[in-house]
Symmetry: C2
Amino acid sequence: MTTPTDLPTPTVEDRDALATALRRHLDGPFGDVRDHVRALDADAFGAAPARLPVAEHRARVTDLLARVAEQPYAAAGFPERQGGTARYGEAVAAFEMLGHTDLSLFVKAGVQWGLFGGAVSLLGTSRHDDLVPRIVSGELQGCFAMTETGHGSDVHSLRTTATYDGSTDELVVHTPDATARKDYIGNAAQDGRVAAVFAQLVVDGESRGVHCVLVPIGDDEGAAAHGVTIEDCGPKQGLDGVDNGRLAFEHVRVPRTNLLGRHGDITDDGRYESPIDNPGRRFFTMLGTLVRGRISVAGGAGAAARSALAVTTTYAASRRQFAAPGADHETTVLDYRTYQRRLMPRIATAYALQVAQHTLVSAMDDVLAGRAGSEQDQRQLETRAAGIKVLTTRHATDTIQACRELCGGAGYLWANRLAALKNDTDIFTTFEGDNTVLLQLVAKSLLADYTATFGDLDTLGIVRFGARLAAGTVLERTAARGIAQRLLDAAPGRDEDDTLGARSTQLRLLRERESHLLDGLARRLRAATAPGADAYGIVNATQDHLVDAGTAHVERLVAESFAASVESCADPAARAVLDRVCDLHLLSTIEAHKAWYLEHDRLSPARTKALTALVNEVCAELRPYAATLVDGFGIPEGLLTTEMSGTA
Amino acid sequence: MTTPTDLPTPTVEDRDALATALRRHLDGPFGDVRDHVRALDADAFGAAPARLPVAEHRARVTDLLARVAEQPYAAAGFPERQGGTARYGEAVAAFEMLGHTDLSLFVKAGVQWGLFGGAVSLLGTSRHDDLVPRIVSGELQGCFAMTETGHGSDVHSLRTTATYDGSTDELVVHTPDATARKDYIGNAAQDGRVAAVFAQLVVDGESRGVHCVLVPIGDDEGAAAHGVTIEDCGPKQGLDGVDNGRLAFEHVRVPRTNLLGRHGDITDDGRYESPIDNPGRRFFTMLGTLVRGRISVAGGAGAAARSALAVTTTYAASRRQFAAPGADHETTVLDYRTYQRRLMPRIATAYALQVAQHTLVSAMDDVLAGRAGSEQDQRQLETRAAGIKVLTTRHATDTIQACRELCGGAGYLWANRLAALKNDTDIFTTFEGDNTVLLQLVAKSLLADYTATFGDLDTLGIVRFGARLAAGTVLERTAARGIAQRLLDAAPGRDEDDTLGARSTQLRLLRERESHLLDGLARRLRAATAPGADAYGIVNATQDHLVDAGTAHVERLVAESFAASVESCADPAARAVLDRVCDLHLLSTIEAHKAWYLEHDRLSPARTKALTALVNEVCAELRPYAATLVDGFGIPEGLLTTEMSGTA
């Protein structure tokens, strides 16, 4: 609360102007492309009117994908030499907007253009450039075959092999047993014709680590290619419109040139060569292609959570239950404290995460366009992407669940959208990187400062993934950094007198939690390197500490980027409201860790009680703005039609 | 940890014997009826092999319901004078076991026999007794039409009317407008022929409050009765096998004798009479019929959570990911701390809630069989039922979600059960009483001790429901009470020296939290009765305090009943394990409220840190017993077949 006055009660005209200003703020650098997507036909792109049978749903999504292919968004995600327009940030922002439509379409588009297209574009060599325009247009549909039944998080240990046969100049792709089949692969069961298959490359009898090979898997008549077995994963909890499948390869032969060989290739004379000597580094460089997938998943999760919040807020602002004594009308449920407490902080967090997403997408744009091309930039981007993905997908699962409960029986009806939102996004917390594993990677990447002291964490070999990320620094640079630092410096220091309402205090508390957790973590892990130490046991015992430290880091990043963005909001009315929204997000984040602050003597009991009272107060203060705040999400008209909004 | 020695690592033979002993303990007083249900044909009663189209799923459940009707369970829920066998506890325990089958069957059975049958049996007069055998056999199918589109939690304000017309000796049932239609009514869209309709009874122009009237709604050819409109609620998030519908009545005439008039009737000469003068008390007495519904929902939720835990533990004990340095094999995921932390305390809580459910069902049996017939007994039962329903349904939603995430992509496939378990039980937290509303009622009922001091809470009129429950006392008597008191008395007092491992300390901490919250609540609410006070504002501001107090009360009850049951376990090996399971449940419950204990100076930071370390330790100690603990759930073989268990 940098402005200590109370917010005025908004008039109707205020509300419209305010919603527009809030939307502009949330649109960030991507207003034009968002508006472009908003103009798409809501009748066509909206959720299916009922839960469709799987075959029908898949057909609908296949059709919708073709309509998306007519738009400029897919081409934006590829460089000009491959026929794209190299507007990477806009591509991701446009696909995020698809997160307000049928989420099966969102995921299917992500598989086709983000994962499959991304693999060809970023792992392929110039000999694969010609494929890209066919992928962009949707003429060539493919899938991204990484996960195996037996290996998800530990992709380093994938067991599919691609063995070079010099006698025919071919690669032989093989699935050694059932646990090595490619599993849960989107686009594999029906529409994909080519798979980008991750496999252990063997050249001259020597294993070269995981590489990616293009393998044709079937034809347009639905026949599987020779030696390829395609199995349908069958019904899922959600995302019925996505044809997930399992792929097994029985010594399938493809030309050597199908190897996506940018980071490791086989020459015309059959020798393996790579610009990266270290096999581990090579592998993690390749995995870098995943980063856009994670960023996109975060975007879609954020969009789904906003959809749920919009549906629920509309309901809550009109639903009445129980009359106050002497009142003519029953009370609107949004006026109840227990209701506000469950809804308002989640709206605030949705704002914070949307802003953090922009920061992330802009950083990705810089890296992909080569404006920030160092290995450190790339690794920082990966750390941040992993962290934001975790926070946003967790927020989506938690928020959509809360919204379902806040809407009671109405929330349980398919017509009211929440059921599909819940089921479609539930997998987001564990695909594109399991959240619990990712948080540990984030924390490990932050420990780079300490590695000089106690040796390379990666030598512990617990989570091999970790090495890829162990490069950032605790204090990374971001565009928002300057403003956040200034806000922080406004603090009078660690004094019980500074109020929790001060932005500087809020930011300082979040930063203190992060540094304290990292310091403690470094100390504990150092013990693992002592001679004779049970390194495995020690590292296992710190897992929850790693998760907490990773969480604290990303929460601090999100808070700083949101606080900085509020400072830079030019519209005074919007800024006043955003300032309170920022208070609510920061205070409720701190409140969620109340036990930690008390346990570590960073807040006294009196202060944590004041904190809870303050969160209640800001919830009530923002209540008249609830409907306007969700209007500010700028979700296209027509995509949120429900029975509840109809009868409200 | 009343026995301080470590648990031995179990041998294979130990495990089988232990699982049997644990199952016996969990079966409690209902072992025979549980074994009877376990012997049902798992192929027929198991989950559908795939997600069926709605019509097919409904047909399957209708068939299964007819097969359940051949069993003795339904008759057990009715008194002998109505052709039943009056074994109420066994009826509820048997239906709880149906919670391991298709949950649509569980809910449909609950609607037919629990809600519809319960209304006829408990609200009807002797003139309705003949209907009961036809309901038990399933020949007469009905529904329970209470909730309206506009009123769910506030049933006192239902707007459907039943007006007595003396000229024809009929009741005229009418829906004044769309928000008064009966909504989400199970069995209404397809199978129900008669509805037990809750409506404002008007006799001689005078409103007599909400009463229940039997109204025929349609015939076997699917035609709606004259004046009745039946609408299908359409697809839902889950429970596809239950035909939920909406009912509207256009001046529908039924004979006067269709009034279920036990608590308020119309005489042959057209006068209203009731054995209960106070209309509020009369209404809440009628609502007492809901209690069996809530108890059954808790049972089904507990069963579903145990199914999810069993599926997930089997997976976690065989799934391997990442190798420890120098190890031959990759590590079982259940050996990771983050995994144990998410799974083991939930197994412990499942044990605690199952035991609490027995205590509750036994108390219900006493009340329904007339062995405990006072109004205070009835109200205590209602308070306890509301509280256990909240804790168990919340546990189910939380646990099944955690299990889905712990199983990653495999958890997302329909074949692995978790998707259906999630979707089918999600509504449990808000139907049969919204959890947030129920917790406030629980707390209000506990404030009875204070009402003499500051006036009747109900005069505040905030939640009219509250009055029904405002009768219990803070220290209720239970069978377990004696043992719990003895355990508690073993404490050396409030001394920092007593360890968190001591059962007495654990129980004392939970009891202190409850009393402190109730004391504070009473103080705050007293202010609402001061002259000129904004009573509404004050009560609204205490909502979260009410929720916390209600939670603390039920958590204490559950803890004490579990602790007492462990003490009474005769098998030494089972008792040693249960003792640790009890530690884990109690410690993790206390840990969840760590912030509260610190804020209120009940635990020092050093002690809360020790608490977390202890929870970790007990998780690890119980890890070798994880598979045996879920075997102890005694879930019928064949009901848990999944693709995961097949490939494990």
